[in-house]
Symmetry: C2
Subunit: 496 residues, 2 copies
């Protein structure tokens, strides 16, 4: 057989797997948006069966042989990258025994349920035994997958290909003291009541209109996507031409809806910008969660929280919320939406303190998977870190170690991608500005198409062809670094 | 292996097929309700792949052997019925060559598109060649499936197990003259302007509220289902605990929303009443399309268009549409919602003339598959039948042979299930009344739970255990017949 016939077989096999992942994507989206509550049991069975079919199709030995043949067949760079990434994914699936997958799925389902109750009742003791099991299973998974330096690397690699503990350590070592110092300096000079200009009622129907206007302006294609609501905002998609965003509204706080929408909109623009001709293959997929988060974060923070953006946002607020807009100026809006304030809850954190929350989680996860600490020690260590880094101490575990759902479903190694996203966002945005000129004037006018065009050309279109670090380097001349992010904060908040 | 181990393997295999059909159900529902337009291509590919997996799982020879073993193993009646129906479905799938399935799928996709344009432009000539291909492929399918008397039987059997042309012929032969005579008699005495009391604007948000109230009163469980809108109302469901209804509203005509909702609500109540312990097996499925339609029709016509129902409906109209309700009485509402009037379009037809539209389609389909007529003759024959039976003649094919989408996707043998539904509805409703006593008083009060309970006990809970005719006989003492339906019309409209 010719190479091109082999490659055709490869594409057909991936097409079948893509059909399953498209169906799984819709089943997941519907479960969070429209599914009636009593449908959950059948939904879980349906998802589990389809996930099993996808696993079988992935580990299929004949598919493995096909990939080996292709890898040795002298493909051009683009096709070679596709096969390389498919093999990476398949290798991981082959290495993890099916029994371990099933057990993880069973235990994390229980742990998620237990977490909901434990958080509500501030009851760490009932959650801890299940979390211990989850950590133990994930440690087994890391051993099965293999690693060079330490088990935690095998978990990081799942969310951010090739990311290693040793790469993250200097990053957090640089960020932490810089952010702690910056937070203190900003707090000293900041107006504590800046956010009070947003007090009052913000009717949800008008918030919905605003969300649509924001996404329209950003360039989100509603013919190829939707916006709905769910308890926790997310983005999912079966293809670049069918991207589902969700957001959430708080009638007492417009920032929640605005920034949830812009954040998910950033994810959605990345997904809509992936090359459709490569749909269902790695070249049609986003390059890791860090780069994905760079897209949501650059729109949310570099764009949506900029002073220039306020000139665009204010007239919409005047139009949609006339009672709230009385006396509001672009400057007071900018101040209100950029209050820096150490707080207990990660998802409410501002742009400056956010990464301190991630640094804490990274330290605890690394220590856990090195066996340096036990699950039982997490609540106390959490309190210590919060006190030393952020200067605030949770009174209960509800606002401490129990605040995130992620560990309950085994997502260790995942949180660091949020910080990677913030760092890549700053570097990409700086380079876009260097290339496009006066971004502030464009943003103030609501003309976001040059920025989107730059991201399309330099990030979206490449899919998983390169690692995140190399993609960033090719786009900006610079790989992962803290400088661009810290400089962005220094310039924005006028600190040293 | 023991029989119970064999049966367990059978249930597991069906569980996998049910997961696929659950996913397909959601993919189909979403396509008609929420999918962004540009998602269609990936959606079609996804559905096609999953349908292929379901087909493979069904025709799997090992599954066939398992079914043979089970059939010979002396199962109890209930399990034997389950295996019998599964074999029936599988036999049909095995007999139709995959190539024919693919070809039908390809040609009907083209024919559906062509139909949309042809209907819009009143252009039969562009549609006819594709319809000829569809008829030819369906004839090949009938030959592949096999039949005793004539090819059309193999098509009927797909929608209504064991239904035959020879059974339907005397039914339509009895209905046709009776309905023609009845229509004339009613038209003579009916107030032509009865419907004018409904003129004016009916705001859609209030219509939505009314639909929810109606479904609530009927006993539809919104914890196990939803109501949305779509261009053509339908009911779909992945399990009795996740049933999706759609309806459609016309701001100038409340009847459209009311009866679409009640009709789909009847389908939905059947689905919600199927035994969850048998989900994914024939015992958890509805017993043919005729019985399904009996549930939607009995709620729509026997309940929703009854004089008693108007006493329940009127206060809701007064509450939700105060401007429209001025001067409206239960009697004038009853008259307005029961105007009998021969018309060109099936979906707009009243309770009396409706089955004349079906009789016409049955005659033409039977003649087509007997080879007595060609596709090219359909438009003229349509006009002739309409003129002779209903006394109205379509000026264009748009209001004639092109009005229904069904033939474009090959649904020959399907229309008769609508008439079967009307007949079973009348017989079941009569028996329910005999058993429950004064149904009118209950309906006037909005107390529909005794009726739903009777349908649950006598129809829903049995799934596909028996044929529709036997199910009806066991529930009512009487099988398929025209008397109950004709007597219902005679009593309601006071004709001979």
């Amino acid at each position: 057989v010719t190479v091109s016939a082999l490659y055709q077989r490869y594409l057909e096999h991936l097409g079948g797997l893509h059909a399953l992942s498209s169906a799984l994507s819709l089943l997941g989206w519907d479960q969070e948006t429209f599914m009636p509550p009593r449908g959950i049991e059948n939904r879980a069975a349906t998802r589990s069966h389809l996930a099993g079919l996808a696993h079988d199709g992935t580990v299929d030995p004949a598919f493995g042989e096909l990939l080996d043949e292709l890898a040795a067949s002298g493909l051009d760079d683009v096709r070679a990258a596709s096969v390389r990434e498919t093999r990476r994914d398949r290798d991981r699936s082959v290495k993890v025994p099916r029994k371990l997958v099933t057990e993880l799925s069973r235990v994390t389902a229980m742990a998620q349920q237990a977490w909901v109750t434990a958080r509500k009742n501030d009851d760490w003791a009932t959650f801890a035994p299940l979390l211990t099991q989850v950590v133990d299973l994930r440690r087994q998974e890391a051993e099965a997958v293999g690693y060079e330096a330490e088990p935690y690397d095998a978990l990081l690699d799942q969310y951010e290909p090739d990311m290693r503990t040793a790469v993250l350590e200097p990053v957090f070592a640089e960020l932490r003291p810089a952010l702690v110092a910056m937070t203190a300096e900003i707090a000293d000079r900041q107006n504590d009541v800046a956010a009070d200009v947003l007090l009052g009622e913000w009717p949800v129907p008008a918030q919905e209109k605003l969300s649509r206007r924001l996404l329209d302006a950003m360039g989100f294609d509603f013919e190829a996507g939707r916006l709905d609501t769910s308890a926790h905002p997310f983005t999912s998609g079966a293809s670049p031409l069918d991207i589902r965003l969700t957001t959430a509204y708080d009638p007492a706080d417009p920032a929640k809806g605005i920034y949830s929408t812009i954040h998910e909109g950033g994810h959605g623009l990345y997904e809509q910008g992936l090359p459709t001709e490569h749909s269902g293959t790695p070249l049609g997929e986003a390059c890791g969660l860090g780069m994905h988060e760079s897209q949501s974060r650059s729109w949310e923070n570099q764009v949506g929280r900029s002073r220039a953006f306020m000139d665009f946002l204010l007239p919409h607020i005047v139009d949609l919320f006339p009672e709230r807009a009385v006396g509001l100026t672009a400057d007071s809006l900018f101040a209100a939406l950029n209050v820096v304030h150490p707080s207990l809850i990660r998802i409410d954190a501002d742009e400056v303190t956010y990464n301190l929350h991630i640094a804490l989680r990274f330290e605890l996860e690394r220590a856990l998977f090195r066996g340096e600490i036990d699950v039982a020690e997490l609540p106390d260590l959490w309190r210590e870190h919060m006190t030393s880094d952020l200067g605030v101490t949770p009174t209960g575990d509800r606002d401490g170690v129990l605040q995130d759902i992620h560990w309950s479903f085994g997502a260790f190694g995942y949180f660091p991608t949020y910080t990677l996203g913030n760092l890549y966002a700053a570097t990409l945005f700086r380079a876009a500005g260097d290339s496009l000129g006066d971004l502030d004037t464009m943003m103030a006018r609501g003309d976001f198409s040059p920025l989107l065009g730059w991201m399309r050309d330099n990030v979206h279109v490449h899919g998983r062809r390169w690692s995140a670090d190399e993609l960033c380097r090719r786009a900006t001349g610079r790989g992962l670094n803290c400088d661009d992010f810290l400089n962005h904060l220094r310039a924005k908040f006028g600190v040293s």
